[in-house]
């Protein structure tokens, strides 16, 4: 192993749009928080793991008040991914980024995910995708619901994105991104590693950071804390 990878923030390689809840506090904020507490008592865990944007258009808060509000929300299990309706310059560093261009959306779009502890009977989605031909340069394989297995090579300039693990029974020369829907247990396996980029749950290493020690023989990559680890499969890991 060429040591632990440097810590990296989440990767933003391509533009994507997502559905998120917008929380809009109203003045006075203390009373609004109390109302929120009342509501949460009947819907505990509603916001757990959900994307939430804080809409500050109706209130005037200083940077430190916003920081305080976000920590209050965090104490209630609400993580804020972005801020709307506020001036980017007034908010200091360390706060979530200011989001622009948000549009109203039907709540069903974000409600689609079944609530925790309330299993919904639906046909199980396929958990794996099998490809038996090379993934050529410029092609992109995206399978957010499970593992991708490729019984061939992945060309330089190709991209394989999986919600689960990625298995390449050939040479991996392009980019492989596993665990993109937040699966930290996902791994990347390949018979020969010449990848341009490896990523698991947003933590990535480029070819430059990998060195050449893994260039022969089968390799796996996994996540240890916030470090992307790479090691030969023949060595104990």
């Amino acid at each position: 192993m060429s040591g632990v990878a440097r810590q990296r923030s989440s990767m933003r390689l391509r533009g994507r749009s997502y559905m998120a809840f917008a929380l809009a506090p109203e003045p006075p904020v203390a009373e609004w928080l109390a109302e929120l507490d009342d509501w949460l008592r009947t819907s505990a865990g509603f916001f757990a793991g959900r994307p939430v944007v804080l809409d500050l258009a109706a209130v005037t808060l200083t940077s430190s008040a916003v920081t305080h509000l976000i920590s209050e929300l965090a104490a209630r299990g609400i993580r804020i991914m972005g801020i709307e309706g506020a001036d980017a310059e007034k908010l200091g560093p360390g706060l979530p980024p200011v989001m622009l261009g948000g549009r109203q959306a039907a709540l069903e779009a974000i409600e689609a995910r079944p609530r925790q502890g309330a299993p919904v009977a639906t046909a199980p989605e396929p958990a794996s995708l099998l490809l038996q031909s090379p993934v050529r340069s410029g092609q992109s394989v995206f399978f957010p619901t499970g593992d991708i297995t490729i019984v061939d090579s992945v060309g330089s300039g190709a991209e394989v994105v999986a919600g689960g693990s990625i298995h390449v029974y050939g040479t991996l020369r392009g980019r492989a991104m596993a665990g993109t829907s937040g699966n930290r247990e996902a791994r990347i396996f390949c018979l020969r590693m010449e990848a341009e980029l490896l990523a698991i749950d947003g933590f990535y290493r480029t070819a430059d950071d990998m060195g050449t020690s893994h260039r022969t023989g089968p390799v796996q990559a996994w996540l240890d804390g916030e470090a992307l680890m790479i090691a030969g499969l023949d060595r104990s890991s």
Partner: protein, 271 residues
């Protein structure tokens, strides 16, 4: 019904036009009817390499748009009477090509010729995708360089997804032609080896054309290398490639290497 072949590469300057002319002439010399079609609208070159630039009256765009009939635009080669050229227009751009028009012209060429060889422009835009659109088979021209090989890989992906055959669920058969192979540089490790290229692209190889002054000389006098220098190493390599394209099984040799090593490799990799 003739066979439609696209000569393509993604990258420019690798030898598509030279290879189109050389393969077309080599096949036509066997007595079969061959049309070579220049799809590089706006930057035409095939007429120069074929030595027909002073006889161009109508071109592919005229035929696509119905201004001229196909026989009016076809130029017969002065040296090989079964070889014809359908030139591109130099004054128009690729937007003048329509999918329906190209389909009609290719269908008509297919009826008249045994082989229709389309010289694709570089890139992956409209001109290149239309050149490959109705192809039955493809010759992918690559130099043993990383950039060329990656572009070829991209083109192979497009052949598998954007052609009429692919959309019908059929395969476009692919053949690899490695050009500008320099034995000296290969020996010094300054180029990808043939083995590397085959490993990355994993399609069958039909020829390795050595880098040679002869090729340049042939272009300058306006004759396909298989016509004017038919005993030179590149001409022999092109002749063999044309025979393999027609289905013959011939031993392959890497220029500058002892026979034997590569036969084993070729048998394993690309048979």
């Amino acid at each position: 019904m003739g066979k439609v072949i696209v000569v393509t590469s993604g990258k420019g300057g690798v030898g598509k036009t030279t290879s189109t002319a050389a393969l077309g002439a080599a096949i036509a010399r066997t007595g079969q009817n061959v049309a070579v079609v220049d799809f590089d609208v706006g930057l035409r070159n095939l007429d120069l390499v074929m030595g027909a630039e002073r006889r161009v009256v109508f071109d592919l765009i005229n035929v696509v748009q119905g201004v001229a009939k196909l026989p009016q635009a076809l130029i017969r080669d002065k040296r090989i009477e079964t070889l014809y050229l359908l030139p591109a227009s130099q004054t128009r751009d690729k937007d003048a090509l329509t999918e329906d028009g190209v389909a009609r012209v290719i269908a008509e060429l297919r009826l008249r010729f045994d082989w229709v060889i389309c010289d694709s422009p570089a890139g992956i835009e409209r001109g290149a995708t239309l050149a490959m659109r109705y192809a039955d088979e493809a010759v992918i021209v690559a130099n043993p360089e990383v950039s060329s090989v990656r572009d070829s890989d991209r083109i192979i992906g497009l052949l598998d997804s954007k052609t009429a055959r692919a959309e019908r669920g059929e395969r476009v058969e692919k053949h690899l032609l490695i050009t500008r192979y320099d034995p000296g540089r290969a020996a010094r490790g300054e180029m990808l080896t043939i083995e590397d290229v085959l490993e990355i692209l994993s399609i069958p190889l039909i020829g390795i054309i050595p880098e040679s002054e002869e090729v340049l000389r042939a272009s300058n006098i306006g004759a396909p290398i298989t016509v004017c220098g038919h005993d030179s190493p590149p001409a022999r390599a092109y002749n063999d490639a044309a025979r393999r394209l027609a289905g013959e099984a011939l031993d392959m040799m890497v220029p500058g290497e002892k026979k034997g090593f590569f036969n084993r490799l070729f048998g394993r990799r690309a048979a």
